[in-house]
Amino acid sequence: MALGSLMSPELLRAQAPKTVGGLPGLPHFAPKAKRVVCLFQSGGLSHVDLFDDKPMLHEHAGKEIPASVKGTQRLTGMTSGQSTYPIVPPLKPGKRCGQHGTWISDLLPGIQTLADDICIIKSLNTEAINHDPAITYMNTGNQQPGYASIGAWVSYGLGSENENLPAFIAMVSQGTGKNPGQPIFSRLWGSGFLPSSHQGVGLRPGANPVLYLQNPPGVEPDQRRHFLDDLAELNEMRAKELGDPEITTRIHAYEMAYRMQTSVPELTDIRGESAQTLEAYGPEVQRPGSYASNCLLARRLLERDVRYVQLYHRGWDQHIAIAKQLPNQCRDIDQPTTALVNDLKRLGMLEDTLVVFATEFGRTVFSQGKLGDPGMGRDHHGRSFTVWLAGGGIRGGVEYGATDDFCYNITENPVHLRDLHATILHCLGIDHSRFTYKFRGLNTRLTGVEESHVVKGILS
């Protein structure tokens, strides 16, 4: 009998432990969240326009930002040479939302309705002021390349709960605010110094949702099954001859590849979704590769217990023509993001799924370019910006941290991005200070060597 049939998927499932991979001793304590979806808004989302309106901005509209507020710290090379720094109030009005009355822009009408479910952190901060270092920092805990992404860390630490899909999946969509948006890099979902099996596996639309998934033309699934049986039989003979456990590992890898050929197309086939669900995610859900489509896929991945689902939506870098670009960009993400949170709630999954809505930095309250010019925009601002969290382990309906009257400097409860990382790990039952990988002589951590703290004030 062929070995492949000996190791049919059913048999493998019966033998396999529930969790594949992961470290002994992890999680360190009972987790509130079993899985994470990170909706990364790449390019630098304008906290000023979308979440952090202040009366003073309207009073000072068009006037110079006070020197005492602006301070003397560095600006990017794009605005450091400007002769004036006039205040630009939010583009669009907003309203007080939720029971706690947090302000959210009318550009995000859907997210306005989530106010009671989400925890808005208004005091996130980073030292980085340019895209490459800033987005690398947010995704790997370091501004320089060579480090592991959060998803890779989580895959390494907790392993997978699904033997037919990778533990960490990444998806990229193009924004309509600015296209092309700032470039992004495979290092953002890379494994860095961790074993490469923890790198995020890209999921893309089309015939090969995972690269190389599809059999070549003229090769049928049953034919491939026979092929793999023969291959396994040949390999197994050799394994016995040589006493090499690695060969057995490889046989299993081929079996998982085969299972992925079924599990991935099943995952990406949304024909079974109800009209109501599709409608909730908006018309773009019909366009594979869009943010909306990726949000729906994210829900389907989370349902299948994929540990870490990472979306990147490009196009938030509104240095230029923010008045034209930002509304488009908001429209891309508002309805799908809202639908995803509601969908998780409907399925009872929001309780143990952590939703992270993040970006690499905010944008300046002052204008880049001439005030009133259609080309006017906002530059990068790392001193304070807004992200929000929801779901497993997080207290909804709160605002955490605050900025000054010009949403420029933090006045209350600063949250460094390392603290955010520590908090994400905490929700997954991991103590960031004990979660290490020895590399180049150091017990390297996602949160690095600087001090970092779990943001206790936002935990449920």
Binding site: T76, R187, Y212, D230, T249, P288
Partner: protein, 1058 residues
Amino acid sequence: MNAILLRSALSSLLLGIACGSTLSINLCHAGERAMDYNRDIRPILSENCFACHGFDEKSRQADLRLDIFESAYTDRKGTIAIVPGQLAKSEVWRRVMSDDADEVMPPPNSHRSLTNGEKDKLKRWIEQGAPYAGHWSFIPPVKHELPSGPSRQPIDAFVDARLEAEGMKRSPEANRETLIRRLYVDLTGLPPSGDEVLAFVADKSDNAYEKVVERLLSSPHFGERLAIEWLDSARYADTNGFSIDGGRHMWLWRDWVIQAFNDNLPYDQFLLEQLAGDLLPNCTDPQKIATGFQRNNMVTHEGGTIPEENLANYNADRVKTLGESILGLTLGCAQCHDHKFDPIKQSEYYQMFAFFNTISDKGLDGNAGVNPGPSIQARTVLKTDEVPHLREQIEAIEKSLLTMDLARLSAWEKREQASLALRGKDLQTYPVSLKKVSTPNRGAGFEIEEATNRVRLDGFGSMGAIDVVAEIPKISQPITGLRVIMHPMAELPGGGWGYGPDDALKAKAKKAKAASESPDEKKVKGSFMLTALAVTADKVPGDQVNLFKLMAIDHVTANSWEASNPPAGCLDPRNDSGWSPDLDHSGPVQLTASFAEPFDAVSAPYLTVQLNFGNGRSLVAKSIELQVITGVDDDTDLPSDILAILKLSEKDRSEDQHASLWKYCAEHSDELLPSRIELANLRERLDVLTKPFTTMVMDVAAKQRETFVLQRGDYSKPTDKVSPGTLAVLPAMPTESSRDRLGLAQWIVMKENPLTARVAVNRFWKMLFGRGLVGTPADFGSQGEWPTHPELLDWLAVDFVDQGWNVKELIRTIVLSDTYRQTSVTTIELVERDPQNLLLARGPRFRLSAEFIRDAALKISGLIVPRIGGPSVNPYTPGDLWREVSHYGSSPATAQTFVQDHGEKLYRRSLYTYWKRTAPPPNMMAFDAPNREVCTVSRGNTTTPLQALVTLNDTQFVEAARAFAARILMSTAKDDQDRLEWAFLEATSRTPTSEERSILSRSLDRERERYRGGINQAKAYLSVGESKISNQVNAAELAAWSQVASLLLNLSETLTKN
């Protein structure tokens, strides 16, 4: 199946098997032997104590150092950390054993604690007098006397002695088939051919093995093979890395490395030239090329970044790379503070930094495919005898293209005539209703002009990507194409179509002006260049083209073009070609793209069109109309003179017209495309070997930057000024050396440097055994692993230097040892006792690295094109993975959109695959290839499902299976059984067992039956890949054998070095 095996296999499915893990397993039964500070104690103290009681002054607690005995033995008000020989009086011991949370060491918040084994070692060490010793790797190596025993080969003598101490024995020699394959893979990165295996097996001479070794050491592939690890260390790649990640040109440096290994350049010289070739007296171009080593770091041209910060990062990367790849020191750990574990002060770090802070590089540089400075133009160092043959080949193809081939000409003409006959058939054009226009970098100057239903662009710069959304009217016939019409406008220069003028015309106008012939520059007609066109149709409107659904365009036509910028120029998405109309044309100009597959506008009524303009110049159109068409386009891509000739009957054509027709056919027809590709590739190759190209180098700036210690590594917080200098813990620089990079290089390769040779020897050992004698090849410091065979490492290091840093000799010594020649066949017991093979009681066995897996498939299939060096190539990749993440359309940077190469460039060895750092080749990344962003000294070695998908389904491997099948069928083997045996030998270097043969036979029969019954399936399967399909065998037979070939290419044995 063994339960342990199954469990380990499952857990490593996702986790993978990480080779080069830093776990150190002490296999020695500690017994009562004397504790050795370096081997037994330092690792414990380093891991648990040194962070607070070590070298770093700023984080030192209680002013106590445990890394030096002077401090550890000191009486502090009656308390002494360590009292030699007196456990009870040693505070360290009391604190380690304490139950009190306030007293116990290490403290609870460090999350560290000593194991019982470690406590036991510490106890015995103190009892034995707590002898300290200098860190082993800082003490110069000496050749220890060989241990007594039968073997006088030093490697074997040391390995045997260690095994004997453990009560173990070396494994017997591997069989010849395994040995020759191991040698081939290790020394060339390619498997041997079946004939080479058989010849070796049959060679009964005493020096049969040595002969193979010598042959391989002098193979030109030796240099390619050895280069791989160095390219990883040097973080060599083809793009700049940060942010926009534009292209650069560093392959001259890569080829220098290959040639250096092939020439057996002494390793000290190898380092000297790479670190300071430009400072050598009378330096040569090759020595300057070599200095590209420290220019391989990533650079950025992200607008907004601060040049000083970037420069500080570049130099930090250079110091880090120097440390990890050459010195085996984690120098980077001292960037922000004194090193926590090794005696390296932060100020010393910046002294090392200062050596590199003298280059004239800029903090923002390298855009538009131009190398970041400094760079030079130089000729390749490759030594090859290809040139005469290349010239012959080029001449032959040129001649064949000049020689009229009537059969091909008439086939082409027949097709052209047929399409001309259909020209304009049932053509209907429909204006589409323009909805929206967007562009990334402007706030105004682009809009839909409702009255005319046109896009209007105002005053554009040097390039622009314009996305237009339009709604198609309800049309029941399939939409066959898109027409883009540019209207002339009176307000444009010369009443033309765009902002132009072409630079050349501008220059001409200037000249004319100078000669006061034509004083008005405006008379030059404004034009445009459409560099790329992309279209998507969808059921919902999309502001931008959907990169995942770009419509395949069959061909483009226009009603006017300049000879140098025909319509087809916009089919290449890169911005170096495009369509531009003939300036003499008057009225609107139009370009029509006909789709490969017509589409239904009812289900996909929304069109998005991306128009890319400019080519780096102001060649942008102003007034643009869009139409869709049904039926057949009435324009043509044929020039008017060719059109006129085609209208004549054949007998009415003059000799000249006949010749013009052939010339056009030769230059444009699909029939002759393979010849044109081959010609272009050969010409490029000839250029590579004969002309200068740009490459990045080191230099010394006229005005050098000053170097300061940076507080916490922050570029904006300089403190004390420092000058170049080396590390105090290591021997001083030679007195005659200058305090510059040359001096640094001389210090690194001086005999007294205790690290350089050890680190190098260890790396070469690792290349062959999968693991170094020191398990942490980038870290020979306190936190690194203690060598498994310290005396052997030292013996090899000293011998390496004594032999003149002779790399080939070192490798010869290793591969001739019995230790290397052992069989890797093993037992579960041995695997469990020594899973990492630390003791070397068996031969090495591990999966081939990414490059060699693809290279093996290319060689076994016979597709390989074994040229050495040259610009990197773009073989098959699934789709345009670059554009999905890049700044395409918003940047003049190169490497923003992937365009696959053709012809021989598909079959070059994998180290020549274009390495874009932000989107590296996925079939390499699946097999643990690093992204080359930073120095990598050891790759992982995982086993994952994605790897299986690559070798099963990647076009490269599917095509290789087909080509391998053709080779099998063309071989001298005469029946199925013979063929299976021949093929098995080619793939695995051994003959199959009868059981293996029967499985393969069964497989073959099954596939044969399947494809005989489904010939279209067979043809579809065989159509994968661009190499010519053998027409000497029938499709079903070839397809069936291709399946068997794929089976062989996927065998664990084929993918593994045994």
